[in-house]
Assembly symmetry: C2
């Protein structure tokens, strides 16, 4: 059931984490502690706010007059941060499932937490993730 999960922890470079989300078109990453246990979920929709300069957050009308080249600086800005700096202040409950859970169990947890992906554990270790769309692919008949 589990898909390969990129390994990202609190100390991972923020640009590297954002590039992983981008390359693999993931809706979110599972962030682990130093000891490898899941700590939090980092949604891509949270990371995009770091593309936005602070003064645009204060006055959204400024975004209109900015050039795309200013967005390039976002990469540089992220490169100086760690994943811990990107996490929402309000810690979101992470959906955690066991590798031998049924599809129904995983669906029930994911639906309850409205979480776009769940961390898949085996013997207390993170072995991968399963996204909501992947779960649908596993559960539903093909067209």
């Amino acid at each position: 059931m589990a898909e390969d999960a990129p390994l990202v922890n609190l100390d991972t470079n923020a640009l590297e984490a954002a590039q992983l989300l981008a390359e693999r078109r993931l809706p979110a990453l599972v962030v682990t502690d130093a000891d490898g246990s899941p700590h939090a979920i980092l949604p891509a929709s949270q990371v995009v706010q770091f593309l936005v300069p602070g003064y645009v957050q204060d006055d959204p009308s400024l975004a209109r007059v900015m050039t795309e080249s200013m967005a390039d600086r976002a990469g540089e800005k992220l490169g100086h941060k760690q994943v811990r700096d990107l996490l929402p202040r309000e810690r979101r409950e992470l959906a955690t499932v066991n590798h031998d859970d049924t599809i129904i169990e995983v669906a029930a947890i994911m639906a309850r937490l409205r979480c776009p992906l769940a961390a898949v554990m085996k013997d207390g270790r993170l072995i991968g993730v399963v996204t909501a769309s992947r779960l649908l692919a596993l559960a539903l008949p093909k067209r």
Copy 2:
């Protein structure tokens, strides 16, 4: 900027919509009105709850003893519903952007609404979507 958006409206068959999410590994779909204007967002994490039989929602411990074959029935159950039946009761604000908006504008809207994707409009018509991870791919330097 826009990626091809599968066309889904309130009357679309729910199984078909779920299969689109599954096949394209999308975090969400944009649902349009009958006149083609964006109405709501349907996250995959919302759809997975329809894989869960009602009596498991009432008593999650039952999910453990169910067999995977029971999940097969979810396809049948969805086949009798329409997309309007899957939408969250609480209507979530949909991120809507213009095809010529800058990356920074799109990022600012997406971050504010914590939305995994935005509807991309041109001349008042939906022409596609952009996901948060796609936006990161456009904005950040490649590794």
